[in-house]
Symmetry: C2
Subunit: 334 residues, 2 copies
């Protein structure tokens, strides 16, 4: 009998410790090991402690703990050009191989003959046109398969890394830390939603229903194997600037309490987040590390951060200085 009770007693202790483990204090293990001991780290920890303290004046119920993240330049790199644009160039090359006459027409001509960054010199119109012509005319399923293959095989022209390995390790830690504290995390990006969904779940742990991005028109058609969704060569929504606020309303239907961006295109999203009734946290990632990543801000053609820097100072939003505040940028390669 004694033996049996001992077994039960040990079982009970294990149960108690098991429960304790589930509710473990976040301080027990450093949740943000890639963040240096500087102000942004302290600000994040303080905010999370405040909104999760049920006895404090700033408590926020879990349903309202919504955190939104820009993608390009906030969760992964965006230089020398947005990664999705490299994918569009690859699709243009494939299209020219299949139909060589396209090589004489824009935007294919620049895509296959020049340096893709030339598109940036020519302004946004050609870039948008290239995205549209290469990202339409297929089913959503075929498009996702093409993006998946490219993301698996392509190498970044500067680092030689795979694109999904150019995510920011500190931001992955931040996503997991917020989720462990009852937040729901959402991507709110100018990137294409169907492109991001291909890697967001595996790379960031963010499922398709929590990815908000730009969208093309879709048509439902009955094919030989049943219904399919065809991508049309027309934008349905361009999710940048004030449209990010609209996208948040359409998709989430609640105001976020935390927002993370890196460019002027994220300004309204942060502004909207900060204007809520309760506590809020807004952060701009400032690209200051030319050695480990890139350094750019007010005059960049990619991810320009100009008005945003001024507003952040005025409003007291957190500016994360990559060189100073992150001990690691990219995750270690396998």
């Amino acid at each position: 009998m004694n033996f049996r009770f001992n077994i039960l007693f040990v079982g009970l202790l294990l149960s108690i410790f098991g429960l304790w483990g589930c509710r473990g204090t976040p301080e027990a293990v450093d949740p943000l090991p890639s963040w240096g001991a500087t102000a942004p780290r302290a600000a994040v920890l303080q905010f999370v402690n405040r909104v999760t303290d049920p006895n404090g004046p700033h408590f926020v119920v879990e349903a309202d703990r919504i955190a939104v993240f820009d993608n390009d330049g906030t969760l992964w790199s965006e230089n020398p050009i947005y990664f999705q644009f490299d994918f569009a160039v690859e699709l243009a090359r494939q299209a020219v191989i299949e139909n060589p006459v396209l090589a004489t027409r824009e935007p294919f001509r620049t895509a296959v003959s020049g340096e893709p960054v030339e598109f940036l010199e020519n302004g946004a119109h050609d870039l948008m046109e290239l995205l549209l012509v290469t990202h339409s005319g297929t089913t959503t399923t075929a498009f996702a398969a093409a993006a998946e293959a490219w993301l698996r095989d392509a190498e970044h022209p500067v680092t030689g890394r795979s694109y999904p390995s150019m995510i920011y390790q500190p931001m992955i830690e931040l996503l997991r830390y917020l989720e462990a504290n009852g937040f729901s995390t959402w991507i709110v990006s100018g990137g294409g939603v169907d492109f991001m969904r291909v890697f967001a779940e595996e790379t960031y742990g963010i499922p398709p229903e929590r990815v908000i991005g730009s969208e093309v028109e879709l048509a439902y058609e009955i094919g030989p194997g049943g219904g399919v969704l065809i991508r049309e060569p027309k934008f349905f929504s361009l999710n940048d600037g004030p449209s990010k606020v609209i996208g948040i309303h359409r998709r989430i239907g609640r105001r976020p309490i935390a927002a993370f961006g890196n460019s002027d295109g994220d300004l309204e999203m942060l502004e909207w987040t900060a204007a809520g009734d309760g506590p809020s946290f807004c952060m701009f990632i400032h690209h200051t590390d030319a050695h480990r990543e890139w350094a750019y801000d007010r005059s960049s053609k990619i991810g320009r951060l100009d008005h945003g820097l001024d507003r952040a100072s005025e409003e007291g939003w957190t500016i994360m200085d990559m060189k100073r505040d992150w001990t690691t940028v990219f995750p270690p390669l396998d």
Copy 2:
């Protein structure tokens, strides 16, 4: 010591039963008490048992257990006219009180002088026009407040019940049953998303981010108190028929495995659900109970179910006959 061990032993037993309770077999307590012992109930239970059995050939991981529900006629009643339309008529009356000259203009004239159902005789155009003019020109916040007040105070013209009390008790049980089995439940309705979100969480337990519906254009403007979203008098999306499939793709990004509707406008949603690779479950609610609710199908101006009935027979989808299959329709009044 014996006493202490007894306490521990009882504690352990309680823990075990507690855990057992959490994982409790659905059969232990009837999860669908308002469903009669007829075929639809058995079909639902069988489907859920199949997709949740980790050792069976039809197992579906939780992330893919997505169930979509039409709203009008599927989760609550829709007669003699869609409830949101009654709200639009009330808004039109208020607008005429504030600005009497409107009483001479359509669609206000019919809204305030005639029977609202006249709109149905005149076709969809006037109805859409009334929805647009009454549902725009305000902030999203003011619109939600107006809808909330109306839903709290208004009485249904036939039953005298509040509108939110005209939900279907068996469908509420079904939502909870599916959620208890790892499903995520979504509303996919032709109704306005910002109207439905006002009551969906309290009434159905479905949060704003899982409500998909028709949408108007929105504009982000800076007002005296900060940024606001203004509802514009133009539709951004009309979520009916094939557009429901598109809305599911845009908002969820995965194909559902279960779909519930009641009209031909839900046909493509069921078709898309049924065409997935794995197991699927499709159900039409057939309004057959003129005594407890309404009876209508192939020739109704509201919620017409014609092609859908034929397709359901052809495809072997479940047809839920309200008169035969539900022991209760509406929840008891407090």
